[in-house]
Amino acid sequence: MRLFKCRVPIAAPCSITKMVKSFRVLYLLLRLLAAAAALSAAIVMATSHDSTTLLGITLEAKFQYNPAFEFLVIANGIGFCYSLIALFIPSSLLSRLVIMFDVIIAMLLTAAIAAAGAMAQLGKNGNTHAGWLPVCDQVPNFCDHAMGAMICALVGVVTYLLIVLYDVHMLLSPKLLP
């Protein structure tokens, strides 16, 4: 197709310069950090569990009881798998596909943390107009776990933002594109 056949003038010599090498190392480190953050967010949220007994009624809090937290776990799992796969892809023809998928996965992670953030704010403060009481006083362990998971997911989102910025930079200066 016409899209990928643009003839771009290559000014750099054939051997990879030092700057390009250090950029590659930085890029790999960013991907590792993103994978680690996504995995830790998924695991911390998946292991959050707390229960309390109030007036004979057991109030239990698990991440499965809330669709937004389920989405957070699943999205970070997908982000972790994709980060690992992108680390081991031979950087040749699939570079542009990886760049497109980077943007998609970054947006998936941001959406997950936005939804989980909305739920967490509701759980902490409640909503008097809808008659929804806050639950964090009754299940403080669950709320702390969820907060830790969201912090890890936020680190993953920021790392993916840096990866996307690096991708845009790579696209605009073709010398860096392998």
Partner: protein, 191 residues
């Protein structure tokens, strides 16, 4: 326009490049319509219901319950994010003649990504709140509200759909502008 890569390259890429530019403008217009619809619908989303809570003698005591978007921070963020996105798209479309510089086009592309992230997060937060309002959460003892405030829920749902459509359009626009930026290397070096 001076070109250092040979005339035939320029003429080969020019009609394709024009298609990309036309597509970008139309996608931006569609995204503007979608995000402004979402922001406007949610901003004017309010429903009041008056019920009789007690009867004293022959006089009924009425109490009114209101559902408005300001009561939920997620919906407030939704309105703000979509308003910012629609204003940004309007500004970029109005300032198109000033943005022929390549540096400025890169800036517009980066701001496009920021605005896309805004719209996506706003839609995600509002969607989680909307799901809770429709289905409730029996484990947390949160009752659904959509059975009582139907018009509020329907309007909110339509606004949410419009925001998701706007988000998809913004994603397509991002991908297309990346393509437009990379292949611009061939046609115009110093524009």
């Amino acid at each position: 326009m001076a070109d250092e890569n040979g005339k035939q390259t320029e003429m080969e890429s020019r009609p394709w490049h024009q298609t990309v530019t036309l597509l970008l403008v139309s996608l931006r217009l569609a995204a503007l319509v979608a995000t402004s619809t979402a922001a406007g619908l949610m901003a004017f989303n309010k429903e009041t219901k008056t019920v009789t809570v007690a009867v004293v003698g022959t006089n009924p005591i009425l109490q009114s319950f209101t559902a408005a978007f300001q009561q939920t921070p997620a919906f407030v963020y939704f309105v703000l994010a979509n308003a910012i996105a629609s204003l940004y798209n309007l500004l970029v479309m109005l300032l198109r003649p000033c943005l022929k510089n390549r540096g400025r086009q890169v800036l517009v592309h980066l701001l496009d990504m920021v605005v896309f992230a805004l719209v996506v997060t706003g839609a995600a937060a509002a969607a989680s709140m909307a799901e809770l309002g429709k289905n409730g959460n029996k484990y947390a003892r949160w009752n659904p509200i959509c059975d009582r405030f139907e018009a509020f829920c329907i309007r909110g749902g339509v606004a949410l759909v419009a925001a998701f459509i706007g988000a998809v359009l913004l994603l397509l626009m991002n991908a297309l502008s990346v393509v437009g930026l990379t292949c611009k290397n061939v046609t115009s070096n110093n524009n």
